[in-house]
Every structure is written in C-alpha cells, then in structure tokens.
Symmetry: C2
Subunit: 245 residues, 2 copies
C-alpha cells in the first residue's frame, strides 16, 4: 500500500543505515538504537494496558515525552510497532530453543526448560503483543511473518513432545493437541497476569509445568509436591484475576 511497506519487515535494523559517506559516528547510531528500543518497549506497555486500538500514537509519544512525528522518526507505522513488540517477545522463546538444543537431557526436561522460558516471555511486557495481537490488525505481509514465527515455535514444542514419547519420558499422547494445551495455558498468562502480582512469571510457569507433568488424577505413592503445597498456605496478596482474563 505505502511504498515504505514494501519488502520484508524491518525488525531491528535502523530505518536508514547510513551506508555511506561519513558513517554517522557509531555512538550516535547506538543512541538511535536505544531510543528506538525505548519506543517499542513503551508501546508494548501501552498496548498491554489499553489494547492496540485504544492506544494512539499520541499516547505513546506522550509517555516518551515527545510528539507523534518523533515516534514516526523511529518507526514507520503503528502496525510495525506492533510487529516489533511481537518479535521482541518471540525472540526470547527462540533463544530458549537454541539453548536447549545443546543439552543432553531427556526430552521432557528439555521441554519443561523451554516452557519455563516461554512462560516468562508471555509474562513480560511483550506478552500482550505475542498473544493478544490480532492478525487482522496487520498487513498480509506482516501477518504471514508472524504466523511463520508462531508456527516455528509450535513445531518446536511438538518435536520435543515426540522425542519425549520416543525416549519414554513423556506419556503417549497427540503431539499437536498436547502442544496446544500447554501453550494455551501459558499464553493465557498474558490475559490475567499483571506485574504487581505476588507470583512471578517463572513461579507460575513452574506450577503449571508441575501440573501438566503430574496430572489431576492422584498418583500412587506420589505425595503432594512441596512447591505446590507451599503455595497453598502462602496467600497471594491480590485475589484479582478471575478465570477468563
């Protein structure tokens, strides 16, 4: 539509890499990059608080104590802003897969390691963009990119599940539906979690993973896990939340 929007999304690279004459002093370029990241971070927080459509670029600019054109100096469109927020979150999850690939562990343990990082990412400021952003708000190009990234993560989880079934560390199940259930429970954190909560994203994920590993049915000779028990007595400070949302 707009000539700016042609080609693959930027996602990190400075808008105009001064490829030539006097290579703008590198500290200046670093400054620019820092500011750009600040814009994206603030945008993520505002989207998280008020939703994409209820957040105007004037709002974001005001939070940064600048004006709207300044925001556009670092970002080409509101859409791109959303995209960058998404990427920032997803990169953390991809990194988790990378880290785990090098480890020699039963697949179930590698899976739980990934899920842990996954949950932390979803509970971060970028969780909203990763989870709640609607792809109808994005151009077809951006939408495709996002779907590809999501699919990559999905496939990664399914693969770990399959490997777990092979090495015997995971109970036989349908990898696809199981991946959906796991990811769903974790993604949902972005719907209800607020940073002022008594539990951290990591703690929540621990509890979830424990639940998924053990299951609801009582197991012979398996007593209550200490971690779960502890949480039973330590009352969270805020009741808040609710089920849906």
């Amino acid at each position: 539509m707009n000539s700016r929007r042609s080609g693959p999304p930027t996602a990190g690279k400075p808008a105009a890499p001064p490829a030539s004459p006097w290579k703008a002093s590198s500290e200046r370029q670093r400054d620019r990059e820092l500011k750009r990241e600040a814009v994206i971070r603030v945008a993520a927080r505002e989207f998280n608080r008020k939703g994409y459509h209820n957040t105007s670029l004037d709002d974001i600019a005001a939070r940064l104590e600048v004006t709207k054109p300044t925001v556009y100096y670092y970002v080409t469109s509101k859409e791109q802003l959303l995209f960058e927020c998404f990427v920032a979150g997803v990169e953390r999850i991809r990194a988790a897969f990378q880290d785990v690939r090098r480890q020699e562990l039963p697949a179930r343990e590698r899976l739980t390691a990934v899920l842990h990082r996954y949950g932390e990412a979803v509970a971060s400021e970028f969780g909203w963009a990763m989870v709640r952003a609607e792809d109808q708000d994005l151009s077809p190009t951006m939408s495709r990119h996002i779907k590809a990234l999501k699919s990559e993560i999905d496939q990664g989880i399914r693969r770990l599940i399959r490997e777990g079934m092979q090495d015997g560390s995971i109970h036989p199940c349908d990898p696809k539906l199981t991946a959906f259930a796991l990811a769903g429970a974790l993604n949902w954190i972005a719907h209800w979690y607020r940073e002022d909560q008594s539990l951290s994203g990591s703690e929540i994920t621990s509890a979830f993973v424990a639940l998924f590993e053990t299951g609801l049915s009582p197991r012979a000779g398996v007593p209550a896990r200490a971690s779960a028990r502890a949480r039973l007595t330590r009352r969270p400070r805020r009741a808040g939340g609710g089920l849906l949302r």
Copy 2:
C-alpha cells in the same frame, strides 16, 4: 457518559417492554426477540472473524442485509453488542455448573463434565467475545459486570478442585493456579479454532481433559489411551493453527 448507559446492562430483555396499553401482540414481541438474537449472533461471528475494532456496525448491518440504524433499533451501542455476545457464551458455562450440581459424582468427574461444556462454549461462535474481548473496550459498568461473571466461573472451578482434593479424586495442588491452567488451555481454543477444522470443539476438549487428568509423565501400568492413540494416526486435514494463535 451517555444517559442510555446508566443502570445495569440489559442482556436479553427487549429494549422497551411495552408495559402498558395494548400489550403488543406477543408474536410480534417474539419476532423482535428472534431478530435481536440474530443481530447478536451475526455480530459474534463478525467479531470472531475480524476482531471488534475491525468490525463496523455497517459490516454487521450488511451481513443482516439491513442498514445501520436498524441494528441500533435492536441494540443501543456497539459496546452492548459485545456485552451480549459475552453473556450468551457465559450462560452456557453457568448452565453446566447448574447441571452438575445435581449429580452425585466424585468431584473430578463433575469438574471434567464442566470443563467439557466450557470447551464447547469457547469453541462456539461466542468464544471470541468471552475470551478475546478487551475490557478496555467496555464502559466501567459493563466491565464490572463481566468481571463478576468471569470470577463466578473461576470460583466455581476452584471449588470443584478443592472438593476433589478432599474426596481424593484430585491430586493435591494449588486450586487457583490449577484453575488458571485448565481454563487457559481451554480459553486458548478461541484463539486458534475455526469451525472448518477437522476436530470438533467437543473432541478437542475431550483430548485436553484426558491430558489434564493423566499428565505428561508416564504412569506405571497405564498404556496410551485409545482415544489419544487414534488421533495420532488419523492425520488432521489442515495443518493450520500454530502454537500461539
């Protein structure tokens, strides 16, 4: 803000119950109610397809082959439309709790029965409104009502979990976090499920509930469940989906 918005939301009652003179012939009133429900159902489907903010009331009107003011004849605002969609979905879940209350069963079985209906509701046309609607799009009054309904459901699930721990049918765990995990996995269905999928909402929920009960870790002497095994061989027709979303 608007004088219309004062008082509790309507949620079903005809806008102007002709309290008096010649009691508008009851078939006419029934007609009106049917049309009103059609408006809400169509709105739910459009919200589901394109999101709340990307759906204009002209769109909805066009789907109904009428004009925008006609929609306003049955509904006072776009916001109320969203609210009604939400209520329509939640009522199904509340009904599930009612039904199960009369039954003499171990709490875990009552819980899974509720979760089943829950999953079906989320996979229905009203799933989007129940799960993805953002309360920033609603007036404080509406938002409060919705939060109350959500909380009621949440508490209902937690109670079943506690009862299950007491009667021994559920492994000791933190009721709050467990409820979040269960509901999260099911809610997430609304993010990725489309009606043209190879699995029905009911089938998906069955698989999820089975997973919740059994857990990922292998159980001594428990072979793969037949239902899960079956799905492993029967390839779904559409890969689609993806993890997040």
